[in-house]
Amino acid sequence: MGLSDLNFIFRFLPVFLLVYFLCPAKYRNVALFVASVVFCGFGSLPGALILLGSVAVSYVLTCILDCRKSPRWRRGWLAAAVLFHVGVLGYFKYMAPSLPPGISFYTFTLLTVAIDVYRRAERPPRSFLDLGTFAAMFPKLLSGPITAYHDAIEQVRRRKVTAKGVEYGLSLMIVGLVFKVIIADTVGILWHDIQTVGFESISTPLAWMGAAAYSVQLLFDFQGYSLMAVGLGSMLGFQLPRNFDHPYRSLSVSEYYRRWHMSLGRWFRDYLYIPLGGSRRGAARTVCNLLVVWLATGIWHGVTLNFLIWGLALGFFIVMEKLWLGKLLNGHPVLGHLYVWFLIPLTWVVFAVTDLGSLGIYFTRLFPFWGGGIAVNPRDWIIHGKNYLGFFLAALAVSCPLADSVWKRFWNTLAAKVVLFALFWVCVYRIVTGLHNPFMYLGF
């Protein structure tokens, strides 16, 4: 059950909100935790048990870790916690036949608990319920945002549900739903059609349109999900961190990944890059650290070779930028934008096409210098593309800075509420009658 499923919107959420708003503040964590486990159980019953098991083990290990005074013992128990979580994640991600819902995300969340307590950045959780509520809350369970323990645990202990927070959260949720259902799912049809035709037979313009379509689909799918999660959090009184900050406004790949899936980027920075020494130990060590982080990012997404290539390619460009390219790009904004808009969709193609043979064929269609192509129709990009122009333009429009200021200024007006109300029902209609995919990041 994803956040854009009808069963979630029309059954789970209304019932949960009713219970949550009506029950006294001190019981809200119980309601949220139980609802989260039920939510997880709807997706997969064993998944819910794995979630409960992970939280329980994490709770026990963190408590033991906190009791120990000797640094050696503390390190030992930290290592035990890290090994346990990484081992469970590794097993389910790379060996088990199916991935339990949200495991990549809540495992990283639980890792922050052990590390933060080890660093004494935060007190250990007061109760199993506190930890469970923090790690498993259903808005962010399936695909984040990944919250660091020291950032978010205070909200589990104390938070306030306000009318404005509820309205703001609901508005964000509807915007997220629109991003997902109207933009991502529609543009995604183009990418689907390209695969149906087969990469050998697409023209070069269509290959580029496909790269753009997949990039837009992934952005609006994941950004839409993240907005829904943050919106739901706001309705429940939480302030979850934003996950996207208009990545395509970046001037470099490094900047792009400070704006894309920000919570994962921050996690790798705080819990891997900086502990490795960050950029403080000389150029060679910095380059090495960056590559390690990006290799880990690739592996986190999947074990197939394309994800490793994807991660290492990004690592390569980020290293180049760190060494000399960054100054050039930041000094020439037009060049920087062109560089990002050219390079990033190519990296998403690598991300999207898991089979290396097919990936090779796709690149020969993107860059047809060596011929290739079977039964190519040079006009196919017009025929396939004409239905999507409006959606590409809509994606562009809501990504421009003007959209931000319009949203900030008008989101709480009656006019905006009328529009959002209408859009909500359009989305519901589209979910029922149109092509509707599960969120793409549910697979990671």
């Binding site: 009808l6 069963n7 919107i9 029309f10 059954r11 209304p14 009318a163 404005k164 509820v166 309205e167 609901l170 508005s171 049809i189 689907h192 059609d193 695969q195 149906t196 035709v197 087969g198 050998e200 037979s201 697409i202 079977i374 039964a375 129709n377 196919d380 025929i383 709480n412 007006t413 009656l414 006019a415 509420k417 959002l420 109300f421 909500f424 029902w425 519901v428 209609y429 029922v432 009658t433 149109g434 092509l435 509707h436 995919n437 599960p438």
Partner: protein, 392 residues
């Protein structure tokens, strides 16, 4: 205008509207939209209302609004199909012989009795033309793996034997009806019977290929542009004539209008997969026969080729309650029974696109339903080896 501080107008409005919509949906799910209530508790009742509004609305909308690629076929895993099992069940089964004359029992016997040799020449009137016709091999796109699999079967009914992926026991009814109503075509003597032969690419200069997204693929990727294509993703037998896909003299017309303006020597009709989630075999065939009849009225001189629905990949066939090969074969049997060997001929692409399991060859498809672009030419190569040439 800012809304007041301690109110939640959006939440209240949404909650109220959801309540009302759910009430309306519950009422309609037990009333006018009952037939869309296919998943029971598996989906919120609102889905029934939306599905009903969308489907019933489309009955009155112009066809160009009502069509669009069938999501069920585009999304391999997330099909949002509607099954309407008894939509026309109350109506009597149409008499198949009413729509075409001179039924050829070969089509049914060939599928069920294994009488391929008989069915090739059931009435003794077939004209053996294979040797005299020029071959079409020079027109084939080089390097097409499909061409090597082509069979030269010349009888309209032999296809299902090869495809044989488990034909349901009920499929014989339509053919049986046809055979019974035309116990002895030879006795009727009048209609001349023809047999398939190899034809060159020029044969298709005056040919029209009508169909759904699978034909769109042929149009875009076969590389054969001497045919005329009236094809659209999501086209169904129900909306076919209203589909605004025909380019005539720079204008975009409906197929109905276009067929009144232009005449064709051959018409190939490939349609039927999008309809599988709607109605049942009888309601489908009723519409199909009416469409064939109407095509005959509009283009009385054209040779009409009715094509069997192409199979889907094994994994889809085995997992999909609607789009599966036994169900497709059930419809194909009925379509095949329309062939009369004289002006209507049945072609079954499954002869050349299936693997040895009898399902769509997995190498030929990515989405389990459509051929990859590089294999779309198989359709036309198959047509080339199954042409009918009439002496004029």
């Amino acid at each position: 205008m800012k809304t007041r501080k301690h109110t939640t107008p959006l939440l209240s409005a949404l909650a109220a509207s959801m309540l009302c919509a759910n009430l309306a949906a519950t009422v309609s799910a037990h009333g006018v939209y009952e037939k869309y209530d296919t998943e029971g508790w598996g989906q919120p009742v609102i889905a029934v209302l939306m599905q009903g509004l969308s489907q019933e609305g489309s009955l009155w909308e112009p066809a160009d609004k009502a069509t669009g690629d069938n999501p069920a076929l585009l999304a391999s895993s997330q099909s949002s199909t509607v099954e309407i099992p008894d939509v026309l069940a109350g109506q009597p089964e149409p008499a198949i012989s009413g729509s075409v004359s001179g039924k050829n029992p070969s089509s049914s016997e060939g599928q069920h009795g294994g009488g391929a040799a008989d069915s090739a020449n059931p009435s003794g009137t077939a004209v053996p033309q294979q040797d005299s016709a020029p071959t079409g091999s020079g027109n084939n796109v080089a390097g097409n793996p499909g061409s090597s699999q082509r069979t030269d079967a010349a009888m309209p009914g032999d296809s299902a034997q090869e495809a044989g992926s488990g034909v349901p026991g009920t499929t014989g009814s339509g053919n049986g009806t046809a055979a019974q109503q035309n116990p002895d075509p030879a006795a009727q003597a009048e209609p001349k019977q023809y047999a398939f032969t190899e034809v060159p690419q020029e044969y298709f200069d005056d040919a029209l290929f009508i169909g759904d997204s699978r034909v769109t693929g042929v149009e875009l990727y076969s590389g054969w542009d001497n045919l005329t294509y009236y094809a659209e993703g999501g086209m169904t037998i129900y909306n076919m004539f209203q589909s605004k896909t025909a380019q005539v003299d720079g204008q975009t017309l409906t197929i109905e209008e276009a067929l009144q303006k232009r005449s064709f020597g051959k018409i190939y009709l490939e349609i039927g997969i999008n309809e599988m989630g709607t109605g049942n075999v009888d309601s489908f065939m009723e519409a199909y026969e009416a469409a064939v009849e109407h095509l005959r009225e509009l283009q009385p001189d054209a040779i009409l080729y009715v094509c069997g629905i192409m199979y889907v990949k094994q994994s889809k066939s085995e997992s999909d309650p609607i789009f599966n090969n036994p169900a497709i074969q059930e419809r194909n049997d009925r379509i095949a029974a329309l062939a009369d060997g004289e002006s209507i001929f049945y072609l079954d692409i499954n002869e050349v696109v299936t693997d040895d399991t009898g399902n769509l060859n997995p190498d030929y498809t990515w989405d389990e339903v459509h051929l990859l672009g590089k294999y779309d030419v198989i359709w036309l190569e198959y047509f080339s080896s199954h042409g009918i040439v009439k002496d004029s």
